[in-house]
Symmetry: C2
Subunit: 455 residues, 2 copies
């Protein structure tokens, strides 16, 4: 490891580097997991070795692959690389970089900490782990002077971690609003374009492999919440865990909701939103109405997109495939090359830079806009009674639309549906207003509501 100073070449042209590489040993990679993503990463390390070597300045070689069944034959991957002992691989001192693509918290957490303690840099695509224990991992990496890169953990191949961590680091990010789960975007898109039910769209997504047989993590927003925690931590340089994220899924969205949204010139999207509120960082995942003119409204199928509002840069959006073996592997490879280049020069990349310990704002303190609908009976004075309930809670109405009630409730004399949009209001005030509406004799059943974003 040589000293590099601004007066002596710290970097050289790639040709020089390739020559230099003859005199220095290869960088050795331990791969934990060889599933959909892992097998693609292994393939790319082997097939693109010349290219990677030219970019890194030293050869990068695959030293071992830990899998549950090392004896299972695998096409195009040397059998002798495989081992069942992931812990031994993570602890090997002749390994420079550990790539973790097992997923889940256990044993990934222990394996990554072991790798860091043995001086290896880490590349991971593990959003669940980073959302739960990211800050312990970043701290350990800082303490051991190694890198932890995780571009693949959020929005697949879309470069968003680097832009937030480096490109916008001189700016002040105000809001990050993203479609970070491809499964739910596919389902909502299909409900919108084909008018089908949630169940119908879900089974189609399952048939095409966009959704798991147990879709809970996607449709209930757990996956998006983990990514939201990672994005909020990055954007606001603080600590947000997945469990601190307010989370609502899309299982309750009906074709009628979608239609009503279209009537308002909006589409329904499942959004992950991180923003700075007076009370702290608000981090939430929920379905929302998004105006058709908003860039996020145009994100189709299983794509992901992240919309960033920064003080100086203005509005930026990044979009692309949010999942899949090759896109995720591409993000892992980008990190692997960067981490390897840092190793070749004996340094680590920028630290996670956690310097603002901003509290996470409770949902009640968040300010958003809502659209809600209630069933009433079409009698004179009803509207003024409803309006007075809103006024009482300081919730101001922007639009009110009355339509004849169709179907359930009609025969009991509930003849009209009132659909209202309210101006930006404090969530707790809106909840109080909802509760009073729900309990009022002039309203039939529970009000339905959905948040409005991007207007």
């Amino acid at each position: 490891m040589t000293v590099t100073s601004p007066r002596t070449p710290a970097v050289a042209s790639a040709d020089q580097l390739s020559t230099a590489a003859e005199h220095t040993g290869p960088l050795r990679v331990g791969l934990l997991g060889c599933g959909v993503v892992g097998s693609q990463v292994a393939r790319m390390i082997l097939s693109r070795s010349d290219d990677v070597r030219a970019r890194v300045g030293r050869p990068v070689e695959l030293a071992g692959i830990a899998v549950a069944h090392p004896d299972r034959p695998r096409a195009r991957l040397p059998q002798d690389l495989f081992t069942a002992d992931a812990h031994a691989l993570a602890a090997r001192d002749d390994i420079d970089i550990v790539v973790e693509v097992i997923g889940g918290i256990d044993p990934a957490y222990e394996l990554i900490m072991t790798a860091i303690e043995h001086g290896s840099s880490v590349v991971t695509a593990n959003k669940a782990l980073l959302a739960a224990h990211g800050h312990e991992i970043y701290a350990a990496a800082d303490a051991h002077g190694v890198d932890v890169y995780y571009e693949a953990a959020v929005a697949g191949a879309i470069p968003i971690v680097r832009p937030l961590r480096e490109s916008l680091v001189g700016d002040e990010i105000r809001r990050v609003m993203g479609i970070v789960n491809g499964t739910t975007n596919y389902i909502l898109d299909k409900m919108t374009t084909e008018g089908v039910s949630f169940d119908r769209a879900l089974s189609e997504a399952q048939r095409l492999g966009y959704a798991e047989s147990d879709p809970t993590a996607d449709v209930e927003g757990y996956d998006a919440a983990a990514k939201a925690a990672i994005l909020a931590s990055l954007a606001f340089h603080t600590r947000v865990r997945g469990t601190q994220v307010h989370r609502e899924g899309i299982t309750g969205i009906t074709p009628e909701d979608i239609q009503a949204a279209q009537g308002m010139g909006c589409v329904i999207k499942l959004l992950a939103i991180c923003e700075m509120e007076p009370e702290g960082v608000s981090v939430r995942v929920h379905p929302a109405l998004v105006p058709q003119e908003h860039p996020l409204a145009g994100i189709r199928g299983a794509n992901n997109a992240i919309f960033v509002e920064a003080r100086e840069a203005g509005h930026l959006m990044f979009m692309g495939p949010g999942a899949g073996g090759s896109p995720t592997a591409s993000a892992v490879m980008g990190d692997l090359v960067t981490v390897a280049r840092n190793r070749a020069r004996g340094v680590a990349g920028p630290p996670q830079a956690i310097f603002g310990d901003v509290p996470v704002a409770s949902m009640g303190t968040v300010h958003t806009r809502f659209q809600l609908s209630i069933q009433v009976s079409d009698r004179p004075g009803i509207l003024s009674q409803v309006a007075s309930i809103f006024a009482k809670h300081g919730v101001s109405l922007q639009t009110v639309q009355q339509s004849a009630l169709e179907g359930a409730g009609k025969e009991d004399g509930w003849s009209a549906t009132l659909r209202m949009v309210v101006h930006e209001t404090r969530e707790s005030d809106f909840e109080a207003c909802l509760a009073e509406l729900a309990g009022s004799p002039i309203v039939n059943g529970e009000p339905r509501f959905i948040r409005v974003e991007g207007m």
Copy 2:
């Protein structure tokens, strides 16, 4: 400068860094130019000093600002920082980083080379300079072990240089297609949404400050060509100069062209396209029909967007404001923080990595699709005669649409307009076909054509 190795902390948490900063001197910045962008950069360095210090690990201070008229009073900037001697500022050995926002080639080129030779890292927003002399500058920076960062030179605040240089470095980029000039996008957008003429849209753009009083650099595609050269060099790790870029502007686009495009479900955009062809890298700037479903079609007003097609990552798009003082300054600040952090750790960032000296393909070898229209007289057999000319040159027709001719030519018996779309064809074959059509007695005047992209 201390040795950093994976076993000793190369980086520390930001709090540690801020403490460490007490014991190390500040990093000193020389600012060349203080116009729309420069004054914003100066403001941000001064107003965000605590934040920047926490992210860099050392204070970053403004050591001098070179301007033409140092005595002119400037709000909120200390008068004693200003100097008229840019060369002396660039050469100061007590300066760590030189930020160049003068623009143009002379004297910016000489000033940047001077700064590099004196061991300073450089941040620049100068696209014209990088398109002309980028590779000499990158080579000098490599030789002196300093950084040259230029995120602001392409697409303003949109992080595109870092993603191409780092995030996608493990992937294989096949095509980069972008809207990289806000002025022309504003003009074409206005012509599309309001049906106004080019001249009308241009004067509106000038009134709003989106276009210069001399709009040549924008409307003739010179600005986009410079950015295309930078993008192609980055994406394909080779050397492309602005003068090697095939360039066509938008001054010839008529409201009729826009209407015809809409009739085909397309919009007209000025595109910068870099792609790998069998004969080399094709780099070109020209107006093109883009299908309304394509993400680039939705880019409104003066925004920029860059669409990247990579082998593994698939299709990615980055969008945002392409110009303006604050967005450009945000990109400069992001680079400044990264470069300063590298200096604080005594290293330089990844080299420009030019390792493929790929030739630039001549336009004749490029394969694209075209839409063209000709005036003919509506007689039996005309279509077969036209079709035979296409067949002779191996250009295959995808669609043919005949409509009654309106206006000019009608009275001379030219009764019909044939509008055709051809399948992907080699440009030279299409040109030969055009030439024969133009010379043929069955065709009135010159055929009109426009390329079709993103289908």
